[in-house]
Each structure stands twice: as structure tokens, then as C-alpha cells.
Symmetry: none
Subunit: 232 residues, 4 copies
DNA sequence: AATGAATGAGTTTTCATTCAT
DNA sequence: CATGAATGAAAACTCATTCAT
């Protein structure tokens, strides 16, 4: 038992070290020796835990995505409406990347563009969230929240693409500093574009109750105005 | 004249070969010898035209983006309204990537994530379009087309992020087959989310003429429905 | 202990092999593979011990000069008179080069003319002896042994220049066969040129006792006559 | 005739350019293209005049030593006494190196240590002076000026070795600034070491004419004291 | 079980030298 | 004849991966 735990701890340590090195130097420029040094072990030890350098690379998201994905899975049932689910998933992504900048770096710069990553167990895990997102969008269409001619796949691409684009900007250009302020503006804008009655309603409501409807969206956008994407 | 032309032709040939090899194997796995072979020259010839392997890599977008960017620059003044400009730029991107899949591959998989690319002449050229896009969005805000609390940078990230996400899906997963069908759905959805009166108008109209207003947007979405994003 | 010794032994082996190869082919024409082969190891092993080819080159004198310089340092205090010290140093140089023809070759043909060698740890070590030589000459001037208008730096250049010239002749032309026979003639001739009273005394004496004074120097020169510099 | 002259001029131009490049970068690091550029011709032109890079290297001393050697040959008969000849030759060397620092650099750093240089026509030319120097020394021995047990070859090594040592110091360490001030101190010191009666004579003379005799040597040494070899 | 040490395999890059124009 | 262009040959250096201890 202790034996098993020690091994597990050491593996985690290696994974953490690898994450740091990969994020810092990039997969290609990072060496196994770099990682071993950072982990405080000898290089051959790495091969006791991972078949190859690439195997080590792919184990990082497997490990790190496990818990967030599980959390999301557990939380999701508590959200009923499609919009809430979508917002919750966006929040999940952006919080994760915000709180794990090294992991964000790895995902955006190394994994997203790696053909072999697609065959990976980690990819499948991560894909589950993307599938849930897709299903949520489709739910919204089915239940009449979103326009029936909405292209769910396109909408998902919009959501994920925007998240990724903002993240890469943060990583490579340093802007925006904070990711989570984008949760609402992002979701609001996209959903506004596909919601059946949101606008109509808000408009109709707004005639009589402009404050409230404006507040709903205005809040998030005010937050945003304070920290806009300065990157150019 | 012939001398200059021949050199230029050979350089183009090398660039084309490099594009193919880089797109096929990725920058890291591609070797200068691979490229030389494909170009039908000896390896040292490459160094007569390009300082380093990375220089060769970065020359590809410099070369290939020049003409599309110029074209866009020339065409843009003919579009007056912000929405038209934005649509035009999106079309420019998607057509370029559609018609140059290898180039799309290079941009999405190798350049977008390359820190050194940011210091590149080609990056600046490409950035010009992104800046124009941003300005167009801001114009739309200024002239009252878009809601005044729109975050222009976020909207740009949405547009570019979506384009990139779709492109990467096409490259890595083979779906969607066609990029250009997304021009309208993409623009429509995003603009719908930020337009001030579009919906209201369509609502007003829709009361009396629901068909028509629906048709306006519906058309593009019908196109889309025929070729939805199957990727999952 | 054994581990450390083995490493040290292997390093020495590489240094020895490098010395042989460098002396035989010259630094430029020698390849790391040549050296590795001679040492019976693979080429990358060299890089485990030495950062670069030049680093390996410069480590040779560092290693080989250490002991002779230390020996000289230890022996020097036993010599009181400037002349004795000078003679001792000359003997040190010539014996070293005599007994280590490969090292002599390296020093004379590769290191002496290498600008980077001047920034080297080994150079500083070696320089210590040259400085001691200079100090000895100055001592001789101070204590009245040598003429007070003697240019100590010139004298040192004469001593070292002569040693080097003779060594290069031996290396490139094969003559003289033996270096150590030059210790006395060299020192005697130069010191004769700068000694204050030796000659005057000998002159005064020589008027009455020419034989003796001649004998004094004649002895050493007789040694020399038996093995003169045939090189031409 | 003009044709011939033009070719000759171009050859000289190339040689001059090669000298500059070789002196600046060293033989190994210099490229034929460097030289061609400096000479304002295309690289293949070099091969019209010189078989190989090494051939070009060896042609430089052939060209540049020709005139000084001839001059020396012409001047030498005017000097009768061995000492005068020797002094004249030393002066020839030091003046040449003083006035042609690039050539000095080439000789000291590239040629002196090049095994192939020994088989060269230029080497033979240069060697003539060394032989004359040797003969002069022997003359001095024969005519009783120098002690009969003087090792002429050693003395020559002393003279040439000192010259070379001082030159290398100047080239690599920047000191001494001026070479020609060493002509007299060098010759005087060495000859003092081998002259039979030099000291006696100078002493005898000094009794009656101290000024003059002192001046002879003193001047040069005073000069020297003002600009001593600072290099250490 | 862990590691110091070694290496096979490969890559970018350089340059003297030679053609074809 | 001059040259722009090309290349064969090589060489330093790297690193993921594996043994022998």
C-alpha cells in the first residue's frame, strides 16, 4: 500500500515536473534529462513510469483533466437549463486555464496541434466535456430556447474557439490578464445570437423594465469594459 | 530578367516544397533534406535562399499571405457598412484556408503556437487584417450598428477563434469538408449577438412578416444545415 | 571511489587520445570522431566530459601543465640566486617539452597562436611560470647580478622565444634531437649578455688566466658542440 | 602586355585581400568567399589564380617576402662586419613586421606552424635570410669576433626566437607597441653573450671614452626603458 | 530498484570547389 | 572569361533511450 502510494506520488511528481518543463521550453526543446532533474530523479526512472517522451506528454492531460472533468460531471446535473449548463462548462474551462496556466500552455501550444494526441485516452476524457457542451446546445434547440435552425456544432466551435483564442493570447501575448471575466460576455454574446426570444423578450421587457434586462447583461459587460482584451 | 525570374521561381518552388513537407510531417519532424528532395535540389541550396530552417518556415506565410492580404486591402474600401466589412474579412480567411489547406495546416499547427513567429514580418502582415477586423467592429459600435457596450476585442477573438477552431477540426479530423459555408452562419450568429436593432427589427417585421425575416437568416442556416459540423 | 577513479581514468584517456590526435593532425583537421576512436569510446562520450571540441583542446594543457608547474613551484624556493632560478626554469621547460613531444607539439603549433587560449585557465597556470621567470630576472637586476639597465621583459622574451624556436624546429624539422643539451648554452649566453661583472671579471682575469674563464663557459658549449643545431 | 599587367594587378589585389582576411579571421575561419568579396571579384576568379585555398595562403609570403629579401640581399654586401650584418638582418625583420602587421600576423599565427609551409617556395625564399644570418654568425666566429665555441645555430635560434616571441606578444596581447626599438637591445644583449672581447673592448674604451661606448648601447636601452615590454 | 554512463542515429549547417550560362 | 548557382562531403553536436553495475 505504502509502496503503491510512493510510486503514485513519484509519478505525480514527474508529471508535475514534466508539465513545468514542457510549458517552459516546449515539447521539442524539453529534454527528458531536464524533466528528470526538475523531478529530482535520474532519467531512466522516467522510463519506469512512461514508455516514451510522448507518452509522458500525453499522460499530463490524462492526469490533470481527470478531476476537473469529474467535477463538471458531478455538478452538471444540478443545472437544468441549457444556458446554465453551457455557462457552467465555459466557466469550467476558463477557471481551469486561469488556475493552471502551465496546463493551459501545454494544451494550447502542444496538445491541440498534436496529431497523435487525438488517439489518446486523455483526449477522449476531455472530449467528453465537449460532447456534453454539444448536447447542452442541442437541448437548448430542442426545448425551444435556441432557434431551431441553430447549428449546434458551429456554436460549440464558437464557444471552444473563442476560449482557445483568448487563452493563446494570454499565453503568448500576456493579455488578457484574467480569463474568468470573459465567462459571461462570451456566453451572453453567443447565446444572444442563437436565442429565440431572449432579445425579443429583453426588448419587450426593456420597454417596460429596461433596468432589469440591461443589468442582466450589462453587469458582465461592465466588468468586461474594465478589463478589455488589450491584445492587438 | 530571366536570371531573376529563375531564382524567384526556384525560391517559390522551395517554399512550396517546404509547405508540403512541413504540413505533412510538422516543422520538427521535417528535415531540410526532406524539403530539398521534394524541391529537387540539394540541401545546401536551401541555405542559399534561407538563413535557417526557421527562416524558411517563416518565409512561407510571408509569401503566401502577401497576396490575400493585399486583395483584402483593395477590396475593403468598397464595403461601407461594418457588417459587410466583417463578413468580407471572414470570407477572406475561410476562402484562403479552404483553397490552401496546406497553408491552413501550417498556420494552425505550426505558426499559431510558435513564439518566434510573433516577431516575424509575416506576423505583422497578417496582423494587419486582424486589426482591420477590430476596427470594423469598433466602427459598428461607433455608428450604432452594434451595442455600445460591445467588447470589440472579445468579438474579434470570437470571430478568429471560431475560424481557427473550425480549421483545426478540418485539418485534424477531416470535418467539416467545406469551410466557406460557415461564412454566413458564423457572422450572422455573432453579429446577432451584438447588433442593436437587428432582432428588434426582425421582430417587428416578424410580427407581420415572419417568413421574410426568418428567410434572411434562415437561408444561410439552411446552407449550414445541409453541411453541419459532424466533428465530435 | 572506484566510480570516481574510473571516470577520471577515462577522462585522462580521452585527453591523452586527444593530445595524440591533435598533435598528429592539428586541431582543425582532427575530428571528434578521430579522438573518440583513438580513445575507444563513442563520439558522444566526449561531450559527456567536454563541452566542446575547443574545451577538450584547452583541457589538455590544463591537465598536463598542472604537475610540472607545481613541481617547479616546489623546487624553486631551493634556489637562491637569480641565475639558478632562471636556469631551473629553462630546464623545466626544456625537460617538459623533451619528455612530452606531443604536448610540445600542441603548445607550439596549436595553443601559442590561439587567441582564445589566452582566456583560458590553463594559460593562467602556465603564465605563472613566465611571471616567476620575469621576477627572477628582476631579482638579478636588483641584487646587482645583472646590469641595472637590463630590460627584464626583453630578456624573458629572449629566453622563452629561444625555447619555443628550438622546440618548433625539433617538431617540424626533426632537429635538434635533444632539447636538454641547450639548457646551459642558452642560459649562459643570455646571462653573459646581461651579467654585470662576470665578463668584466673574467676579462680582467682572462688577461692573465684566459684558460679558466674560457673553461667556465666552454664546458657547457662543449656539450653543445657535440650536438649542435643542425637545422637549417 | 596590358593584359599581363591587368592580371598581375588583379592577382596582387587578391593577395592583398587574402592577407587582410586571413589576418583578421585566421586561415581556417576565413572563407574563399570572404576573400573574393574583399577583392571585389567572384569566388571562381580566385581559382583562376590559385589552385587551392592553401595555395593562395602560401602565395602571400612568396609575394610579400620577395622585395624585402631582395633588398636585404642588395644591402648586405655593404656591411662588412658580422655584427653589422646581424644587426641589419634583425632590423630587416623587425621593420618588416612593424610596417606590415597583417603580414606579421599571418607569418606568426598561420605560417610558422603550418607543416605544409615548409615545402613551399616562399619558405625557401625566407629561409635564405635565415641562412645568411647563420653565415654571418659563423663569420663572426671565424674572424674571431665571437667566441670560437659559439653554437651558431643556437644563436640564430635565439635571434629569430626572440623576434618571433616579441611579434606574437604584439599581435596577441598588443604589447609592445613598437618593434623597432628592440633592434639594438636584442642584438647587443645576444652579441654581448658571444663576443670575445666586446666587453673588454667596451671597458677599455670606456676608460677613455665612456660617453661614446655607453651611448652605443645606452641609447637603445634608454629608448627601451621608456617603452618596456609591458606584456605579462 | 535506481543510476551513471554510453550510444546510435540523425540534423542542421558550412564551404571549398566546380559547372553551366 | 566571369559568375551565379549548385553540391559533395563532412563535422560538431544532441538526445531519447538502454545497459551494466
Amino acid at each position: 500500500m505504502a509502496r503503491r502510494d510512493i510510486k503514485e506520488a513519484r509519478k505525480d511528481n514527474i508529471i508535475e515536473s514534466a508539465l513545468q518543463i514542457f510549458a517552459e521550453k516546449g515539447y521539442t526543446d524539453a529534454t527528458m534529462t531536464d524533466i528528470a532533474k526538475k523531478a529530482g530523479v535520474s532519467t531512466p526512472v522516467l522510463y519506469g513510469y512512461f514508455k516514451t517522451k510522448e507518452d509522458l506528454l500525453f499522460t499530463i492531460p490524462e492526469k490533470l483533466s481527470e478531476e476537473p472533468v469529474r467535477t463538471m460531471d458531478l455538478a452538471l446535473p444540478y443545472f437544468r437549463r441549457a444556458e446554465e449548463k453551457i455557462r457552467m462548462i465555459v466557466q469550467g474551462y476558463l477557471s481551469l486555464y486561469e488556475n493552471n496556466p502551465l496546463y493551459a500552455s501545454l494544451v494550447m501550444l502542444e496538445l491541440k496541434t498534436n496529431r497523435n494526441f487525438l488517439k489518446t485516452k486523455a483526449y477522449i476524457t476531455i472530449q467528453k466535456v465537449a460532447r456534453t457542451l454539444l448536447e447542452s446546445i442541442r437541448e437548448g434547440i430542442s426545448d425551444g430556447t435556441f432557434k431551431e435552425d441553430t447549428d449546434a456544432l458551429l456554436v460549440r466551435s464558437m464557444i471552444l474557439g473563442t476560449i482557445e483564442h483568448i487563452c493563446i493570447n494570454k499565453i503568448l501575448l500576456g493579455e488578457p490578464k484574467n480569463l474568468e471575466v470573459y465567462i459571461d460576455p462570451l456566453v451572453d454574446t453567443i447565446l444572444d445570437g442563437i436565442k429565440k426570444q431572449s432579445k425579443q423578450v429583453s426588448i419587450n421587457l426593456s420597454i417596460h423594465n429596461l433596468e432589469m434586462s440591461d443589468n442582466t447583461e450589462g453587469n458582465s459587460e461592465k466588468k468586461l469594459r474594465k478589463k478589455p482584451l488589450k491584445t492587438d
